[in-house]
Subunit: 345 residues, 4 copies
């Protein structure tokens, strides 16, 4: 039972991340939705921009500003990168600010500057509670950096192998994402005519901005630098990430040791479901849910550990992860307002 109600604002309510935050917040028993802001879409009704959010159809978006966002208990920032720091500073330390963007994810300022081309804003507690040590840092925090969608899927799939010392520090990851991961800005290569019936890679060769975030997560768990060859691909579906993650096994690795490591890592996790042996995840199974489905195997012939995860990039990969962290930060039960049930078929 939720004791009290918090008032939440969403900056960037007209995008896909903002829409998913609202979808989930509408179902959260401890939240009342306050200000909704946008940039170019300010002045429009939510009904015209997010027609699936019927209960909010009549709400009019305001222009994003600290004034409008002030006076809430929680503020979600779903803004283009580089804009969150200025807003957060004005909101005050007593407000829980949850940045759905990238600004506060990276610890290494040089990494930030290399991949984002601007000054590093800082580092906030990292909103992936299932990572070793992450949950404790979120408890009571007034600032949360929500992980990227790919880093969520990849880090959860691989960290148990590194935590157990089973994998060499060179990971190879190929991940397929639904198109909503590329955002709502109208770009020719994201047109339905272009993406339906097509698979294509992008940001190949370490160029994707999520690479340093994955490296940061895995290296922290491994206790040594892990290099990651990360290739994202665009798949003809609106949602979902399937991350195929492999690493060479360290000498002495056995299938049982791998299984044990993953069972131990997720034994107490409400949202991570290690599938029974022989079954593999599908993105459809986590559609719209905060669940992560994972399977792992040890390929003796190639001497590699293969871990595959499926998440909904907008839910667990963005808005659901944000709510999960909010719950922890506020001392609410971690799964309040979050579901492990996918919408399938």
């Amino acid at each position: 039972m939720v004791a009290q109600t918090v008032r939440a604002a969403v900056a960037g309510a007209s995008g896909y991340a903002g829409g998913e935050l609202l979808r989930l917040l509408l179902g959260h028993p401890g939240v009342r939705i306050g200000a909704l802001t946008a940039n170019s879409n300010a002045g429009q009704t939510l009904g015209s921009l997010q027609p699936h959010l019927l209960p909010l159809a009549g709400r009019v978006l305001e222009a994003t500003s600290a004034e409008v966002l002030a006076g809430h208990d929680v503020v979600f920032l779903a803004l283009p990168h580089g804009q969150s720091a200025a807003v957060a500073e004005q909101l005050g330390d007593e407000v829980l600010v949850i940045d759905v963007g990238a600004d506060f994810r990276l610890k290494d300022a040089a990494d930030w500057e290399r991949f984002y081309g601007s000054a590093h804003a800082g580092t906030w507690p990292y909103g992936l509670p299932e990572l070793p040590g992450a949950r404790a840092a979120l408890e009571g925090s007034k600032r949360v950096a929500v992980p990227g969608c790919y880093p969520t899927a990849v880090s959860l799939a691989l960290f148990p192998a590194y935590e157990a010392g089973l994998a060499e520090p060179e990971a190879v990851v190929v991940a397929a994402s639904g198109t909503s991961g590329a955002g709502r800005a109208a770009k020719p290569h994201l047109l339905g005519s272009e993406v339906m019936g097509s698979m294509s890679p992008y940001g190949v060769g370490g160029g994707h901005r999520h690479t340093p975030e994955i490296v940061q997560n895995l290296s922290a768990v491994a206790g040594e630098p892990v290099t990651v060859s990360f290739t994202p691909t665009l798949a003809p579906m609106p949602r979902g990430i399937l991350a195929t993650c492999t690493a060479k096994a360290r000498p002495g690795t056995t299938a049982q040791a791998v299984r044990d490591a993953y069972e131990k890592a997720f034994a107490d996790e409400a949202f991570v479901h290690l599938l029974p042996e022989g079954r593999w995840p599908a993105t459809a199974s986590v559609y719209g849910s905060n669940a992560v489905q994972i399977q792992v195997t040890y390929d003796e012939h190639a001497n590699r550990i293969i871990a595959i995860s499926a998440v909904d990039n907008l839910t667990k990969g963005t808005a659901g992860g944000a709510l999960q962290s909010m719950n922890i930060a506020l001392g609410l039960p971690e799964d309040t307002g979050l579901s492990t049930i996918g919408v399938a078929p």
Copy 2:
């Protein structure tokens, strides 16, 4: 607040209707899920058949029988047509039996025999509460016939025009359905390779079994026989129905009269959303939700009323409609456990 908990069984839990029933029942605060049965899939875990229903992953399906289904407060029958009557008879009059199949929808035995080729089992109160008179018949009832998915979409789109006497009794309907409407039995024409990238009609020329059901609903409201030219088409998407419904306008019809009729018809309905003028429904907006989005216009040039509705065939079109009727039958708030929020994009 739900005062007490009812125990619900689902017969046919391995199909798409059964899966959607369970997805919704898991979120219903007044229901505890009891027996789950199947035919050829009996003995398997739900996790292997419905991997999106994580909380039930370990449940094993039993063979469908009256014995297994006995002892519940509510029994949902998601069975092939022709099988519900025998089961229902054995369950007793004190059990609320909700037939998701077709067996008890039609009033005219000759219609049933012509379209289904077997003896007519009878007629139960019809689970489309928004139809004139339907809600009252459901209150306290121990038997409910859940409407077909197409009849749900079409009847809601057209009945206000007939209720207000604005339309001639000859409707023309073309509807597109996602593939889950065709069920989970593996048939070659339903393979992903066949349906992706393709639109195709079926049951053309009045041959679809949902035609007499639509005729029955509209004729009852019109107070005279309404003929319906109904063409269903299969669309390359898993869920959703978009029904384009037109009828010639009666002399004297005006755009304002049409608008008024629809606003009046749905003013008090929680699940039917008449869109603001100028906006049209899309199936994505109701994905996974119990909402119906409707828009209507009067085409002066062609002198026709055009009403278009979007529903999720598995939710409002099947399982959500079933729960809505269950709530009414049990005296619960009608929207308990049901949402008007779609999963989009």
Copy 3:
């Protein structure tokens, strides 16, 4: 055997219609591809814009102008509406100019002005050879107006019923189109994230610009004004139109009379395939081909003729139809460089 080679230019080569024209022209044994022009994409290679056209990957697009387009035997204009007349005038009467756009399709200047909001440029021979009288007007012509994609699908599906006097002059048409029919300009509602998994209508109530073109075609065949209620819908597929076309049958109509009318209408047509009774068209079957698949039935109960056609909106609906008309205008065998074989599954 093709006696000589014509030199063809394409204005608007970076769009979907332009790309499809080039795909087909590359396979036409009597054509050599000359100038390729674009507007905002001028200066780019075709390889970066149309990566499927490997043989032309290195070609650089020039800015559209009469100078660049001069000196060809055939010029295809795939330009935004309103721009073709000025270009055509400068090209001279000896050049075969084929307008893939709308400018010269309508005969009624008032219709043009109402639907397009600009001055009417004129009327050219109409490039739908299968329509009564159309082929003769194309032979030797130096100007061709290529029909719209919807009018192609709808006119072919319905004209035999009107030609044979079987249908009342009030047609009701609902058509589903793939997204390429909406063009390549990046608009938010055409993003893959928006269209996948969704069906939605647009231009409802007679507002679509193809309505007067359909009316024009059917009225000419019927010999009296035919009103058309036309509702286009956007389907989650890149290509294809499925047009469901119905009209009330005139007294005395029989199923056999309907069948006879359609068999007679298409007996000598290379590209229109009237399916055997009992089978219905699917857009996948005509993917990338110039074929039209049609089926028709008489629904006695509703007293309506139902004709359904499937075309590829970019091939028979645009570029293939353009080449077919080019062949006729040049005196080449009508099917040169055109195929009736779809790419399926």
Copy 4:
């Protein structure tokens, strides 16, 4: 100009490989289509099974037997594995037999038995002409083993790195395939409702039958055993393979050396298109074509070579590759009847 016409039979004409063979054979100027056979579909018209092949709509499928297949110059076998040897033996040495199935691909009998569970039938010249040495073995041959679709995509993407000695003998491959790669047999997990909107892996951990074939190809080029970690995934599209292939670079590898190796490997290949630097392949670009689009880069940070290829699994990956080999075996120009132009968007 093709001097003479060969008569070709297709066994297995009702499946996806058979349909694609016929689509291409219809466009091959030197081929006349003879007997068409099937197993369970014998007796049906091709029009009802492959409605996209209009020119053959009236052809009736015969039951597969050596008698029916005799008397042709070329016989394509698109049969379930294990059935080709018996048929081939009866056809005689003067008939060109092209096995689209797996029976004669592997050299190592133990590999065959481990992955297919039956006796090894033998090894035929391998129909991937772009592989070092392969083309010469095909010239004049009367037997051809057509490669698997994944081995086609993966071997072409990686062999230049091994040929140039740039890669360590441990490759990691993740490939996404359209659903037609899984065949036309109706299985529940291949239903449109299941695959649309979903990505899922299968045959993980070396279990896919194409793994030993990839290993065989790469090891032959490398001159040493290459291990391959191969993870295939099912993508929500009908056609296409995108293969992301990586291998650790050997000491001293440079980006230029990698580029040079790939340019050299494909300089004279009509069907393999190494994209300009900075552009990456998409499966839509090769839809229905025999082209392979490849890009490669050297990721210095991860010290890995990343090569990505896109093919149409049914065309270059199956039927197009078969025709290409047929052309070589018969002494025809290698690209007769084959196109590098995709059907896009």
